[in-house]
Amino acid sequence: MSPREFASWADPKATRKARPSRWSNPFAGFTRDVVQVAKGWRWGSRPPVPRSLPPVARDAAARPGAPRRTLAEVVRGRRVTGLNLAGSQSRVVLAHVESADDLAVLMETLPKEWRIVTSRVPQALARGRSLLLVTDFAAPESADVAAEAASLAARYGRDLLPVVVRRLRPAPADETPGPMGRGPKPRLVDEVQVRFADAVRDPHAATAARSARTAVAALLAEDDATWWQVLRGQVDSPLAEQMAPWRRVWNRTAPARSNGRQRKPIWR
């Protein structure tokens, strides 16, 4: 097999200088780009439309970037699971929070259209707005809050949506290989988990309240087990365990398990 012959200006065997990776002049070609865009769109007047464009009405709701999204974004340091934004019906959101910070995180996580501050709860629900009730499910009075939420949801035919906010869990080490493949970079960042359960749809307030409490218990159980284990009923919820609130926070903020990988200390 004889090797191919190449054009003299493109011979791959010729010496090749590696181009350094560097920043280019940001102004080179800038004027040309601006002029091209300005000419193309006739700034200051309505841009012309090509004649062959088919006459189809534009649907504003389908415009890319429209605010409706199917699922919440997963943001670094804040992990949101189970949130489903589809459907326009309002909801009664029943949240487990343990502090004002938790509530702030939750308010930031909920979609803007759900964030309504009002003292007229029945009117708001009747107008199709969502309602948020917060409580600490470890406290005895949480039963009353859950019952009230279930009652409102049943009365106005709304979904009851349980959610928990779990704070200050150190995230596991980042598994991105470091430079030259020197293993994962250990990087611990505070992580807040906002876990949404499936909506409870039950016309009977008493059973709906029980279902919501069960859902919250399952979401809390995910602290120390996997979603799959909770689903299979292999773990008990912390709600079933009598424990002082500080101990729950203490346990929850323990460093994440490293799955058997431990960094050897440099200094002893």
């Binding site: 097999m1 191919r4 190449f6 054009a7 200006w9 493109a10 011979d11 791959p12 065997k13 010729a14 090749r16 990776s21 920043w23 280019s24 940001p26 070609g29 780009d33 601006v34 091209q36 865009v37 193309g40 769109w41 700034w43 841009p47 012309p48 439309v49 090509p50 004649r51 062959s52 464009l53 088919p54 189809v56 534009r58 649907d59 389908a62 415009r63 890319p64 970037g65 429209a66 409706r68 999204r69 199917t70 699922l71 919440a72 974004e73 997963v74 992990r79 699971t81 489903n84 589809a86 459907g87 598994e175 493949g181 996997t226 979603w227 799959w228 284990q229 689903l231 299979r232 799955n259």
Partner: protein, 506 residues
Amino acid sequence: MSRPGFALEVDERTPPLLVRSGSALRLERFSLGTQVVYAPDAEAWGDPTALTSAALAAPLAGAPIADQLKPGMRLTITFSDVTVPTPWARDDVRRVLVEHVLQAAATAGVDDVVLIAANGLRRRLTARDQQALLGERICRSFAGDDRLGSHDAADAEALTTVGVVDGTDVALNRRVVESDLVIHVGVVTERGHGGWREIATGLGSAETIDLVNGLRGRGDEVADVVAGAVNVVTVSGVLGQPAYSGALRFLASREWEWSIKDQLAYLAVRRALATAPVETSRALYGSRSEPYPVVAVFSGPMTEVHTAAQRALAEVQTVPVKGQADILVSGVPNPISMAPDADGTPLAPAWHVLSHVYGMGGDTPIVREGGAVIGFSKLGERFSSRHHSAGADFVAEVLPQTTDPAQIAATYQPRFASDPWYLELYRHRNAFHPLHPFHLWYAMQPAIQACPDIVWVGADRRTAEVMGFRAATTYADALEICSTRLGRRPKVTYVRASGQVQVRLS
């Protein structure tokens, strides 16, 4: 209802049109009469949870998945890998699909569950890929117990033979073959996605995949063997167009509808990408993910689901175009399915234009035989030592000797396929398998054979020469090159679509 895709005819009112060239962007004036293929707009959002629940409860044929799950059974859930779709999906629908399947398995009391990515010869998934694809809950539940992983097409111990085609063993992932039930979860965004070939090329041995994607082209026979060997139920989500949002919204907008904000965003992104070092632009631009609308979800037997999903996809993607072109013009987005960085390897952008775009018309190519293809790409050679080691050597060692696929298959393919270093990179370092660049080259051959002139605008001259193509500095120069054979008034079709389209030629 969203606007369907259409073919625009360039007139004097048409502004300069956006062309993507890997990480770079440019505006190009096209000659009067050029047909420009636009993708449909992003559809209104469907509720993936509701669609999935309905699809699982009412399969296209046979019993619902929940009724097929029994305590004590061996269940394997396979899923298409992270290279589909591109650009990568934000909040991937496969997470919802797999969670629903796991919910049904938990309800039925199934304990022995394993999840396997059907990556075939593409790169195996990293922990970050798994997290992006399946979400935190599934990864936490299964990754720690080694019950979530990627298929290894080079691990002889994890493969088992299920038949013979053309004297070659057809081998599949052992766990898949030995399972009582396999549930394959996939997304369909392109013509040909899904079906038994996806199982064969995603979960088969390297030799099996070579039977399908190599020069022998025995895909149908391999698919028949695989269909007879495993009990597979499929859950498929059909996706619409990616809904570019934020600063990159102009990518999916039609140019005459660009607002001042879109024009400024174009200028800012173009200048930023042109100014920053390639590593920076690669990190900024190539790692984006976009939300996709879910058009439909189907469950049931593989063949029925494949047919229904392809029909649903054709309904939302098909664009009528007037006849075959003399010259096909196409840009190259970044990333593309065969490379996380379109500027990193010349094979991937060449494959994108000469196989993917060339085949948008199905059985009838979008450009006539004897026509020309003009692509926009640097054909860059900044190969990732992690992903494309074999591809780099393919371009540096094989193509300078010959571009003939038969010679390449006979002389070089066996050595690459058995090279221990390439296999080590594939198995343990998330690299593409060494056969992957060969299959890309073979997939381009119909276009290369049919079109004598293939010109790349802005490409490295040496790389274009090595690959048997030509390079031009500007689009006008490329047209000049083609005009010597095709005349001064060729019929030009530019595929502007930033999403997926299927072209129906009239």
